[in-house]
C-alpha cells in the first residue's frame, strides 16, 4: 500500500506538538495578560481601594464613568489623537520607505538610521527635546521662524499653550518619534516585491508614480493592514509622550483617555472605577479592530 503524503506536515509533527511549542509563550501570556484582564473586569464591579475592604457595587463604576464629563472629554481627545496620527503614521513612513527603497538614493544607510533613530531614544528624552524646541521666547522653532523673518520678532507662537496648536505639536512629535518603526515595516514589505514586476512595468513605459500606484501600493496590502492595526492600538493607548509634554494641558485640552484612567486609579485611588475605564477602552479597541478587520477582509476579497 502506498503511504499517503502529508504535504502540510512534511516532518510528521503531530498536532498537539505544535501547542507544546506555544507553552513557553502562552503561560506568561495567560498570567500577565489574560489573568490581569480578568482581574480588572472583576474589580470594575467593586469599590476597590488599597487598605479598604472590597465591596461589590454592581454597575455603579460604569454609571459614574458615563456621567463624568472628563471621561468623555478625554475619550474625545484620544479620538482626536487617533484621527490625526494614524493617517500621518501610515503615509509618512510609506513615503520615507519609498525614498529609502529607491536605487537612486545615496547614503541610504545614513538616512535609514536617521529616520529610525528617534524610535530608540526614550520617550522622556524625546519629550524634553520637544518641549525645548517648541517653547515660546526661548525655543528653536520660533527662533528659526523669526531668524528667517517668517515670524515677527514681537510675535510668539504658543505651540504648547494654544488648545488647537498643541495638537499640531503633539502630532509632529509623535511622527518624529514613531515614523521610523512603521518605515522599517514598509521597507521590508517593499523589498519583498519581486523586481520582475517593476521591470515589466518599465517595458510598458510606466512612470515612477504609476509603478507606485499600480504595483507598490497594492502589493503592500497586508502591510497596510498590519500597520494600521498596530498604529490604531498604539494611538488609542497613547499616554506618556503627551503627559510628559503637556501634563494634559492646556486646561485639560490634551488629557488622554489613559491619563484619565491613570488619574482615576492612582491619583484619586478609585481603583474599581479605573478598572472600569480600562475595560471600556478594551471594548472600544476590540470594536474598532473588528470593524477594521471586516473592512480589510472586504478589500482583500
Amino acid at each position: 500500500m502506498k503511504k499517503k503524503r502529508n504535504l502540510g506536515n512534511p516532518v510528521g509533527v503531530k498536532d498537539y506538538e505544535g501547542y507544546l511549542f506555544l507553552i513557553p509563550l502562552l503561560i506568561p501570556y495567560l498570567i500577565f495578560t489574560f489573568s490581569m484582564l480578568a482581574t480588572s473586569f472583576g474589580l470594575s464591579f467593586t469599590n476597590f481601594k488599597l487598605n479598604k475592604p472590597l465591596e461589590f457595587v454592581g454597575l455603579q463604576n460604569y454609571q459614574v464613568l458615563f456621567g463624568d464629563k472628563k471621561f468623555f472629554s478625554s475619550l474625545l481627545n484620544t479620538l482626536k489623537y487617533v484621527a490625526f496620527t494614524v493617517p500621518c503614521m501610515l503615509m509618512i513612513p510609506f513615503l520615507l520607505a519609498l525614498m529609502l527603497n529607491s536605487n537612486n538614493l545615496r547614503a541610504r544607510g545614513f538616512f535609514r538610521v536617521t529616520f529610525f533613530y528617534p524610535q530608540v531614544i526614550a520617550v522622556s528624552i524625546i519629550t524634553v527635546l520637544a518641549s525645548y524646541i517648541f517653547q515660546p521666547y526661548t525655543g528653536l522653532v520660533n527662533g528659526l521662524l523669526q531668524t528667517f523673518r517668517l515670524l515677527s520678532p514681537e510675535v510668539e507662537i504658543l505651540w504648547l499653550a494654544d488648545k488647537n496648536l498643541v495638537w499640531v505639536t503633539i502630532v509632529i512629535m509623535a511622527v518624529w518619534r514613531s515614523a521610523g518603526y512603521n518605515m522599517i515595516i514598509y521597507l521590508a514589505g517593499m523589498q519583498d516585491i519581486p523586481d520582475s514586476y517593476y521591470e515589466a512595468a518599465d517595458l510598458d513605459g510606466a512612470s515612477g508614480l504609476q509603478k507606485t500606484w499600480y504595483i507598490t501600493l497594492p502589493c503592500l496590502k497586508s502591510i497596510h493592514v498590519l500597520t494600521l492595526f498596530l498604529q490604531l492600538i498604539a494611538s488609542f493607548k497613547v499616554f506618556s509622550q503627551i503627559y510628559l509634554l503637556t501634563e494634559g494641558g492646556p486646561s485639560g485640552a490634551t488629557r488622554t483617555y489613559i491619563q484619565y484612567l491613570y488619574e482615576t486609579a492612582f491619583n484619586k485611588w478609585q481603583l474599581g472605577r479605573g478598572s472600569a475605564a480600562a475595560i471600556v477602552l478594551f471594548l472600544i479597541i476590540l470594536l474598532v479592530t473588528r470593524v477594521q478587520l471586516k473592512i480589510s477582509d472586504r478589500f482583500s476579497d
Binding site: 488599597l50 510668539e156 492646556p250
Partner: protein, 417 residues
Amino acid sequence: MKKFVAMLLAALLALSLVGANAEADKIEIEFWNLFGGLDGTYMTAMVDEFNASQDKYFINCITQDFGSYYIKLKTAVSGNEAPDFCISHDDYVWGLVKEGILEPIDQKAEELGVDFIWDNYIEKLDMLRFDGTIYAVPLDGVLRIMHYNKAICQAAGLLNEDGTLNIEPGLDKWVEAFEKVKAAGYAPFVTREKGSHPVYLFNALYYQFGGTQPWIADDGSSVTIEKEPAIAALEAYRTLCSYNFEGVDSVSEIFLEGNTAFCYDQSASAATYFEGLGENYGAQSTPQWGETRKTAVYSHTFVLPVNADRTEEQTRGALEFIRWFGINNWGWAACGHMPAYKPVRDSEEFKADPLHALYADSVDMPTDSLTYGAPIAMKGSAEMNDPLYEVGRGEITAEEGYEKIVENLEALLADYQ
C-alpha cells in the same frame, strides 16, 4: 613591588571592611524622600551629617521618583514594604491619614521617650494636627516670593536707594509698576502656569482679597470657597497673568536673561537668581495685591508610614533624626526654604544670610493653605489648575472661573461619597 601592591590592597580591603562593619553595627533605618536638584543635595548632606554625628543609627536615604512617589508609598504600605519614615508634602498628609497610611508621630515619640519641643515649630505644625494628634513634622516653609531685577526696576523708577521696591500696596499700583517697566522697554513679569505654582498664587490672592473659609469644608461635606473673594482673586490673577510670558516653562531662563523686571517664583530659586544676576538681584515676600498681606506657605514634612516590620529601635532612630533635623534646621533651610524650627530663625547663621533676610517676613503672614476636607492635594490638581489656566489666559471670565472651580470641587467630593 608586587609584594608592596599586594600589601597595600590587603590594607585597603581591611580598612573598607572595618568601615563596612562600622556601618553594619548601626541600626539601619530606611528613609524615602522625593527631592531632586538643590533640595536633593541638601537632604543628602543632612543625612550624611546625622550618620556621622552618632554611632547608633544609619539612615539609608532613598530618593524616589517624584511623579509616582505617593503611588509607591501607598502600595508599599499596602504590601507591608513601607520605609521606616519618609517625606510627605503637607497637603497630602490629611488624605494619607484618612486612608490609614500614617501613624501618629507625637504618640510614638512620647511612648519611646524622644523629647520634641513642639512649640519650637512654626504654626504649620498646628495645621498638621488631626484630632489633636501630630502626624507630620514640617521641615520648612516652602514659599513663592517676588524676585526682581534691580537694574530694570531702577530704570523704571521703582527702586528705593536701599534696593527695596517703592511700589505701594494694591493691585492697581502693581499694574502701574508693570506699565512703567514696559515703558522703559523691558518685559514686566514672568511666572509659571503649571504644576503647583498656580495654586500658590491663587491661594495668596484668595486670602488677600478677604477669603476666610477653606475651599472645602473640613469634614469634606461641601465646597465652601467664598464667591466674592474668589472672584476678586481670579480677576487679580487674570490681571497679573496678562503681563506674564504666556505658555513658558523656562521661567528661570527668561528671568536670568536680564530683560524681565519681576519673577514670581519659589524662594529656593533665590540663590540661583542671585548667582545669575549678581548685584542686580533683589527679592521680597509676596506683594500685597489685595486688602491684606498674605502668602501661601506650604511645607515638606516627615511622616511615619504604617510598617508592621519596623522595630521599636528603628522608630526611635527615625524620631531621633526628625528631632535632630529640627534643631539643625539651618542646614536644610540654607537652600532657600524658610526654617520650620523657630529657634533657627533667631540664630546668627540665619540672620547673617543676605537672601533669607529679603523675604523672612513671609512666615508672619501665612494663609490657611491646607484644605483638610479635600480628598486629594489641591496644589497641582486639575480641579484647580484647569480653570486657573483659562482665567489666566482670558479664555473665561473670573465668574466663569469661579463656577468651574466650584463645579470641579463638587465633582471631586462626589467621587468620594
